[in-house]
Symmetry: C3
Subunit: 205 residues, 3 copies
């Protein structure tokens, strides 16, 4: 199940990358690059940080083609995107949760400490979006918006906790998905945000 | 031959990095850092993605000194740069093609899939420029301009295709260089661009 | 001694990251991420560049907790920060020197060339700050300001030079700290800067 969800996830992320590239008037090549980086950048950063070579997508050409296709199809259907906003937000949330769980699993298999497992999940979940925003010249939205990165944190902690309690992997994944999606939907619906830190001292360290 | 072209390539890239740093009023140290990252950043990202350790430049101090020299010399001759624009564009194009071919070779030797070989070539060709632009706070030009990254793609695909047809390495490199330089010169001369994707929906995913 | 100084160093860097995040109105999660990246990003980039896996902080959860704590505590005490400016600048300078020496040591133990050892020290010293600035959408200050990155260079070269002259490690560290802190304090006090390279040609390479 996680695999088919994963395909939905990377396609949704690739689309969000393509739209961001379009906002910066990038050419077709740029759209493809940003789509790829948004969809597979989080997993790439995770693999590099954990020393997990070869990097996952280098062994799965289908992932690469899927992100490029997702990016280029987005150009064709961009005019309809605003009618698909609800659907898109759901797919994006599914992607966030799927990426987080996969990231936890990779670190677990490599025998890393619990805190590193959680960070691996979060990195996989949010770093593609961070790379997208940096490449498009804007401050990473996932670090400012209504709880997004935080959903990744909750999912990772819950996932690891349930596994360590001896709960089966299927049930654990289902629970993580339910809680993650619910939390994200609530956050979007009522615009729930973490407290924001405002600091205006002109210059410092 | 590829080695001597490579030296031209990293010097040209280092110079382009130094000029970008100068536009941001960086100090001597900043100029050296940006020159280094522009010239050797693409190969570094490639080595890390492919798990090709130790990273190439750590084994070749001469590369490092060459980029630093290129960067600092640029400061001295900056006032004449506009008279050298044509020359510079040719050197830059040579660099793009040389980097691309070298990137393909590294991935080929490590036994990666064809699509990864092509991506390795492109990464080596364009990522130095992307890092330069990110460090200097501008949206990567290679993803927006008249076909630049696309030249790297064409060169990589052609190079891999000819090699797999059994064409000798010398002829293959010559063909890749000819086509790559021609394509880039045509693109500059007639300002050929890929179609641009414009998207203005305010906020999304 | 270097270990306890290291703890001061990562805390000071985490605080500088948190303040930068606050200037961009990031939420609590964003503050924690930027604090972490600022404090441990330099060492992470170094470990990846040198192929030094597993990455240091993945083996030391205490480092992670310390940066997160440092980041979140900063929010609580932000209103008093301007009274602490002098102290903060000293801590930051201590961090710069400590990071540089540690970075040199890592490369030395892996048997890298002297130039790579120096670059490893500088990378560890300044790259956290570069990542912080990129994530917060500003051109890296360490490449523009009164001599900061340069302090790292001087410390790294001096440290390597003394070690190779057969001077004991304790004395060498003391010398590197004294010179580094003095240089940084002089640079701050009298606003000493490296020459700046200004270049205004609109577009180029």
């Amino acid at each position: 199940m996680l695999t088919s969800v994963y395909f939905i996830a990377i396609t949704a992320e690739a689309m969000s990358g393509a739209l961001a590239a379009g906002r910066r008037n990038m050419d077709l090549f740029g759209v493809a690059v940003i789509a790829f980086l948004t969809a597979l950048g989080g997993g790439t950063v995770r693999d590099i940080l954990l020393g997990n070579f070869p990097v996952t997508w280098t062994q799965h050409p289908s992932y690469i083609y899927m992100t490029l296709t997702g990016g280029l199809v987005t150009i064709a259907i961009a005019r309809f995107m605003r009618h698909l906003r609800q659907l898109f937000l759901v797919l994006d949330a599914i992607g966030l949760v799927a990426f987080t769980i996969i990231g936890c699993n990779v670190a677990l298999e490599l025998g890393y400490e619990p805190i590193v497992v959680v960070m691996s999940g979060i990195t996989t979940g949010i770093f593609g979006g961070i790379i997208r925003d940096i490449m498009c010249g804007r401050v990473p939205q996932v670090l400012r918006r209504e709880i997004y990165a935080c959903v990744s944190l909750v999912v990772a902690v819950l996932y690891l906790f349930l596994l360590r309690q001896g709960v089966g992997e299927g049930v654990t994944q289902l629970a993580a998905f339910s809680v993650g999606l619910l939390l994200r939907m609530v956050a979007i619906r009522w615009r729930v945000s973490l407290p924001v830190f405002r600091y205006s001292q002109a210059r410092w360290g």
